[in-house]
Amino acid sequence: MSKTDEPEPEEEAADVSLAEEANPVEWEEAANNQKDPDERRTVSKREEKDDARKIVTGEAKYAADYAPEFPDLAGSKIVRSDIPHGRVTDLDTSAAESMDGVYAVLTPDSPEVPDKRYTSAGQSYPEPSPWDMKVLREKVRFVGDPIAAVAAEDAETASKAARKINVSYEEYDAVFDTEAAMQPDAPQIHDGDDVENVQSGADYERNIEAHSEGEIGDVDAAFEEAEQRDDLTVTETEWETPYQSHCVPEPHTVIAHRDEDNRHHLIASTQVPYHTRRQLAHLFDIPIRDIRVSKPRIGAGFGSKQGMQIEPIALALSEAADRPVMVETTRREQFHAVRNRRPARVSVKSVVSDDGDIEALDMAAVTNSGAYGPHGMTVASAVGKKPLPLYTHTPNIRFQFDAVHTNLPIAGAIRGYGAPQGHLAIEGHMDEVAHELDIDPIELRSRNAISEGDLDVASGILKEKEYGRRIRSCGLRECVAEGRAAIGWDDIEQPDADHLHRACGMALTIQSSGVPGDELGAAHIKMNEDGSFILQTGAVDIGPGADTVMAQIAAEVLGVAPEDVLVQPSDTDISPFDHGAYASSTTYVTGQAVKKAAEDAREMLFEFASRMLDEPESAFKIDEDGAVSERTGESVSLEEIGYESMYGDEVRAHVMGDASHCTEESPPPFGAQFVDVTVNEETGEFEIHDMVYAVDCGVALNPDLVEGQIEGAVHMGYELATGDGITFDEDGQPEVLSFRDYDMPTTGDQPPITSRIVETHEPTGPFGAKSVAEIPVNGVSPALSNAIRRAVGARVTEMPVTAEKIKAALDEK
C-alpha cells in the first residue's frame, strides 16, 4: 500500500532517496538462515524452558536465596524521605548507632558513600539520561528519596535502628502536576548547574528534563490547506495515562560482599549486569576488574531492573559494615520508591481526506518523569517515534515532547517504554477519525498502514540526520485478519437486554527489536568431550526464557538437542559482554551473536571431520548424526570429534566459537489487538469477553514462550487500561503501597486472553526472528477505549477506563 503514486516535492524526494539507497530491500542473508518449517530441528518448536524443572521444584535460586551461603550476612534498611520536597537539615543517627547488632549507619556524609552524580538508568555509555542523583540525598525531591541506610545483624534490627534515626527537614513547596511544573513560578526541583550529562532541550528553571521536536514535510501548511478545503477533515484528540507499577514479583534484591580475592561481588536481581558493573566502578572509583556482578534467576524485570536502584547502597553498606550485606526492598518501596511507568498526556491532530488518506499527523507528548531523570528523554521520545511508523506514509508528521519533573516517584523503563502511551493516542485517534469520516476503522488503517518493502522514516523523526528503516517483513494485515476472525468481529450478536451493547474494538501495534546501532551482544560456545556444549552469553534471562531460545539457536546450528547446550547465566566474570535485557533486543541481537558463535564452532567441527574422514571441509553438513559428508554419506559423531579434539593423535584443539553482534537494523514486530466488550448504558459498567492479540514476530523461535510474552504483556496492558495505577494525595503522599491497594488483575478478574502467532520471515534476524517481549502491551488501552466507543458511543480518553467515566461520557452526549 505504498503511496508511490503521490507526487512529492522534488527536494524531499531527493532527501528520501538517500535513505532509500542506504537501506535497500534486498538483504544478503545466509542460506541457512531461512528454513522451511519441516527443515527446522529445534527452532520454532515448543521446547521445554531450560529452568522449568528447577522452578517447579523450588530449587531455582533468586538473589535472596543465596543468603544461607553467607553465615555473617547483615540485613539492611533504607531510610527514605517522607516529605516530597525539601532539604535534610539534621540527621541524628546516634540512637541507631548505639543499638545492639547495628553494624553501620550511612548518611550522605559517610566516607563509604560516593558524593558523585550519576544516573540509575542502565543504558549504553554515556547514558542518554542526566546524571542528577546521588546515592544518599540531602536535598529530597519525592516521598521515597533515600537519605540514610543501616546494616545490622538482621533486617528487623536494621529497621528498628532506622526508625530511631531522627530526620529534620527544611520543607519546600512541591509540585505534582506537569502543567503546573512548567509554569515560571513553580518550585524548581533541580538546579541545572548541579546536573551533569544534561539532555537535549533541558530547561531546569521550568522543570523540563528534556525537550525535542521533529518534522517530516510541512505540518502547518497541511493544516492551513485543510482550512480551505471541504474534503479534508481536521480531528483533535487528547489522551492520558497514570502511574503504573511493574509489580515485579521479586522485589529488588542485592547481596554485596568481598570474595576470597577481595574483589567486590554483587549477586543482583538486575537486567543489566554489565552496565551496573561499569556504573559502580565510576561511582566508587573502583577498577572494573575488581567488580563482579552475577545474575541468578530473576523474579522478572519488565524494565524495573534496567538500572541500579539499590546496588550502590548495598556496596557502600558492605564496605562500612565490613561484611556481606543483603538489601532487599519491601513491596511498599516497590510501589513508591523504586520505578514506575511515567504518566503521559498526549495530543494528536490530524488532517484526513474524505477518502481516508492521512495527510498530516501532529503529535505532542508531556511525560511526567517524577523527581529524577532516568530514561526520561528516551521514553518521552519513544511515545512518538515508536507508534508513528505505523503511519509512516503520512506526508506531513510532527512530533514534540517535554519530559517534565514533578515531586512524585521516579519513572523509569517499563515494558513498552513509552509506546503504550503513544499507541493509546494514535490508535484511539484513528478510531475517532474513522467515526468522523464514517469509514470502517479497519479499512482506514489498512489504507494507511505500513507494509513490507516500505522505508519507515517516521521512527527517525527526532533525528537530525536523514534516516530510514527498511521494512523487510510485515505481517500486519495478516495479524488483523487473524485477530478479526478469532474475536468474531463480523458476527457480534447484541445482547437481548436493551441497555446492554456489545462491540469489538481494535488497535494496531508496533515496537522495535533492539536499539539500532547501539546494542552489542556477544557469545562464546565450547564443546565437551561428549558433543554437548556450554554456551556463555551476556543475554540476561529475567524470566521470559532467553536462555532457552539461545540454546535452541545454537542447537539448530550444531545439530544437537537444545538440552545438550547448557547456557550459563549472565555473570560479568564469565559471560561475554552484553548491554542487557531491554529494548526487546535479546533474541534479535544476542541471538544473532549466538548463531554466529555456533557457526564459528561448526567450522572447527568440520576441520576435525575433514581430517578424520579424509574429505574436504566443504563436503560436510551437520545433522543428527554429527558431521556428515554430503558426498559419501559417511559421518562422524560430535562425541567422536569431541574426544579426538581433546585427546587425539593428530591435532588437539578445543572446539569453540566466539562472536559479537551489533547492527543498525531494528526491524519492528507488528501486531493487532482486539477487545470484545459489553457495556451497560445505564451504569457504564462493562464486561470484557475476550482479548485477542495476533503478533508477527518473524519466526517465533519458541511458540510457548511467545504466547507467554503475549499473555503476560496483554495482562499488563489490561491493567494499564483499567487499573487506577498509583495515586497520590494532595501532599504527594502515595496512596497505593501494597498489592491490596493496587489493581493488579488476579485469576478472579483477569479477562481471558487469546494469543495468535502469524509467521513472517525477517531476513536480518536469527532464523528469521524479530522481538516480541514488549509489543503486546501496547494495544489494550486503545482497543478497549475504541470498543466502548463503538458499543455505546462514549469515549474515554483518560486511563483507566471506569464505569464512572463511561457513565459521565454517556450523560454528556
Binding site: 522452578i55 521444584t57 531455582a60 533468586y62 509489580c247 514479583p249 503476560g712 495482562h715 493488579m744
Partner: protein
C-alpha cells in the same frame, strides 16, 4: 534473630523438626532461615501468595503466620513434591503447559493448586480461578497456569503421569486442526 528465641516443633515434609524462632518470626522467616527457600517473599503482608505453603492441609500464606503458633503443626512445602528427575503430576503439568516464566510465583501457585485438587479433583475453570485468586502472577496472564491445573486434574484422574514428558505429544504428532491439547503443533 535478635530476640530471645523459642523452640518450635513441627512436622515438616513428613519429618519431625525443631526450629529456633524469635517471637516476631513468621513461618516464612523460619523456613527461609533454615534453607527452605522454595517459598518466596513477595510482599510480607499476605497479599501475593508467593509464600504459600500447606499447614494442616490448608493453604497458608506463611509470611503472615506467626511461627510461634505452629508448635505441633504439619507443614508441607514445595520441597516435598517431586524431584527434577521425577516430577509429580502437578509439577509436570506446569512444565508441559509452559505455565511459568520467571517462576517466582510458581512454588506458591503449585502448593495452592495442590490443595485445590485434593479438595476438588475436577474443578471447573471458574473454580480454579476462584481458588487461585489470591496467588498473583505478573508474567503469564494466568492463561497457561489455568491450563496446567486443568491438565493436572485430568492427569491425576487418569491415575498416572502417562508419559515421562507428562503425556504431551511431540510436535510432529500434534493434533492437526484442533486445539484439544496445548502444546500440539497446530494451535
Amino acid at each position: 534473630m535478635s530476640q530471645a528465641g523459642t523452640e518450635i516443633h513441627l512436622t515438616l515434609n513428613g519429618e519431625d523438626v525443631t526450629f529456633e524462632a524469635a517471637r516476631s518470626d513468621t513461618l516464612l522467616d523460619v523456613l527461609r532461615d533454615n534453607s527452605y527457600t522454595g517459598a518466596k517473599r513477595g510482599c510480607d503482608t499476605g497479599d501475593c501468595g508467593f509464600c504459600t505453603v500447606v499447614v494442616d492441609g490448608d493453604p497458608v500464606k506463611s509470611c503472615i503466620r506467626p511461627a510461634a503458633q505452629l508448635d505441633g503443626a504439619e507443614v508441607e512445602t514445595i520441597e516435598n513434591l517431586g524431584t527434577q528427575d521425577s516430577l509429580d503430576p502437578l509439577q509436570s503439568a506446569f512444565v508441559d503447559n509452559a505455565a511459568l516464566q520467571c517462576g517466582f510465583c510458581i512454588p506458591g501457585m503449585i502448593m495452592r493448586s495442590k490443595v485445590l485438587l485434593e479438595e476438588n479433583p475436577d474443578p471447573t475453570e471458574a473454580e480454579i480461578r476462584e481458588a487461585l485468586s489470591e496467588n498473583l502472577c505478573r508474567c503469564t496472564g494466568y492463561e497457561k497456569i489455568i491450563d496446567a491445573v486443568q491438565d493436572a486434574s485430568s492427569r491425576m484422574a487418569d491415575g498416572a503421569d502417562v508419559a515421562a514428558d507428562g503425556g504431551r505429544l511431540p510436535d510432529e504428532q500434534g493434533c492437526p486442526g484442533c486445539d484439544c491439547h496445548d502444546g500440539g503443533a497446530e494451535r
